[in-house]
Symmetry: C2
Subunit: 340 residues, 2 copies
């Protein structure tokens, strides 16, 4: 057998090494690894075998540097307390990877950290930044698009008023009107809305939509409470403070929650600390349809977003070269369970 000692060249096997081994030029080597490059089947085969022998893998850093396309996106996330994030992460990374995109996961540590997180992404020259968190105020977003080292700024599962920003989300207005209609249709008349944190730009219109609907329909403004983060534990505190000590008659008949993270926190205290029954004493409805919503502890009625479909669309946005506004709103559906 031929002993190929160069089979382990110092540190890196480069395209040049493979070229020498295969008896072609370096460029043919790189062509062999490109999807629809102009190369004969014969030389591609030769190259691939040589590459296999040497253990060559193309260097995407260099490719990205030379071509100015990294096929990398940054995913900025900040509310890890929300179980729905795990679903989104799974779906996004799966769809992105299957279509040739890599994902940089950036944990946006706090409100003041948003700028630094964006900087982080910039330095890697990602092709797009995807926001699936909440703590981005207008100022940061503006700065971001200004010093845009990334071509696209996408807000996922949330809509933004900020210019130069692409929103991919469900239509909150339609969705919440559907929910409100459902609530009214089931005969609930004294709803309370449990809202999340108010961020300026990337915003959920759920609360205002619900209030507007209710006022138009019944002429009354439902009670509201607001939680500082999409965290079940925080929601539990707020609900305890709001509903604790209330008598049966003073209780809202349904709690409409901005999302499931709040809803399950609320249900936990309603049942186990305040000792009321769901849905008999007070019903609960959420948003997102997280896995736990389907479990026997909650049986939470919720609104399911087409996350996978949204992710597929996201890839299309990434891959298109033109510069129009890609914002698009999707339609989800109510999932009815026993909680409301």
């Amino acid at each position: 057998m031929e002993e190929i000692d160069k089979a382990a060249p110092a540190g890196n096997v480069t395209a040049d090494d493979v070229a020498a081994e295969a008896g072609v030029s370096r460029w043919t080597v790189n062509r062999a690894f490109k999807k629809d490059a102009s190369i004969s089947a014969r030389s591609r085969e030769k190259v691939m075998q040589a590459a296999e022998r040497l253990g060559y893998v193309p260097d995407l850093r260099a490719a990205s540097l030379a071509s100015d396309r990294s096929h990398l996106v940054a995913l900025l996330v900040d509310d890890f307390a929300n179980p729905h994030k795990l679903v989104m992460l799974e779906t996004l990374t799966r769809v992105l990877r299957r279509r040739g995109w890599d994902t940089l996961l950036v944990n946006t540590l706090g409100k003041e950290d948003a700028g630094s997180a964006l900087l982080n992404a910039s330095q890697r020259r990602v092709d797009a930044v995807i926001l699936i968190g909440i703590q981005f105020d207008d100022e940061v977003l503006k700065t971001a698009s200004h010093a845009r080292r990334f071509k696209k700024l996408i807000i996922f599962a949330r809509t933004s008023q900020s210019p130069d920003t692409i929103s991919i989300a469900v239509d909150d207005v339609k969705a919440m009107e559907e929910i409100a209609g459902y609530v009214a249709g089931r005969g609930y008349r004294r709803p309370m809305f449990l809202a999340g944190p108010r961020t300026s730009s990337a915003h959920l219109k759920r609360k205002e939509t619900f209030l507007a609907f209710w006022q138009a329909r019944f002429g009354t403004v439902p009670a509201c409470a607001s939680v500082a983060a999409y965290d079940p534990a925080l929601a539990a505190e707020v609900v305890t403070a709001k509903l604790g000590g209330l008598g049966r008659g003073e209780l809202p008949d349904i709690l409409v929650c901005e999302n499931d993270a709040l809803a399950i926190g609320a249900m936990d205290v309603i049942r186990h600390r305040l000792d009321w029954r769901v849905p008999e004493d007070i019903a609960v409805i959420g948003f997102d349809d997280i896995p736990a919503a389907d479990g026997p502890n909650y049986r939470l009625s919720s609104y399911r977003q087409p996350v996978a479909e949204m992710a597929e669309y996201l890839v299309e946005v990434l891959e298109s070269r033109d510069d129009r506004d890609f914002t698009r709103l999707f339609q989800g559906e109510i999932v009815t369970r026993e909680s409301a």
Copy 2:
């Protein structure tokens, strides 16, 4: 005011642009951005101001290419159904980022996909690959270390027998002995062990440790059941099949679960489908101490791993240059709640 039109040079602002603007050489510019570079305060200031004016951000791709250090790690994950993953993701990305490391999140789609996921990481020339999933058999691991384009292969929260591999995890043997001691001490005598999938290399020794302990102490081998993934829904199925139809006397008195994902799935069906009480009819104990374990629905006794501490150690491993074996086992603690 001076109108600086070059403030928006075509596409990329490079160090050369900043150099011209600041009246220094390109190398001084880059030194200004390096932590402990030899540069005078005065020129650093000049450079930084010029950079600010032009909106310059160093390009980490180029830096990585030239220096052969990317300060990037790949996180390979495959079991997103386990809520504990969200905790691990949050902790790891937070700690890594605070210490200057970026994270590539790779969703390992299936068992056959592991190799491709590794390849993916290779192409980005990450400094280390971190496995926090399960579906890596010996063959893949061996291939991985063979064609190592990354310097380190780290198994996080799990131990591996594979050579050239670094494990950072709790000491499963100690932990499970502690749990077994607790179970025995509380008077349980007919435990059943609920195990997860059996992977070859990256392995949890929890089951065998528990069985060995029990046999040594009581001379009997506890019953076992095995779930194909750390997914509450799957655990629910298995437990239903195993315990369904059993009479009160035939029931195990405690279910010892390999982790909380299995435990909560089990509790759900025990209470709501099989209609037994926890802990009166059957107790449950888990592992990982996920957030839901502390909620009122479960009140699950569990074992808490020092994830943050492990993450800090991980960074130290990443930063050290030498080549010794960094495997290290940590100690956690039992968290006692009402479920057992």
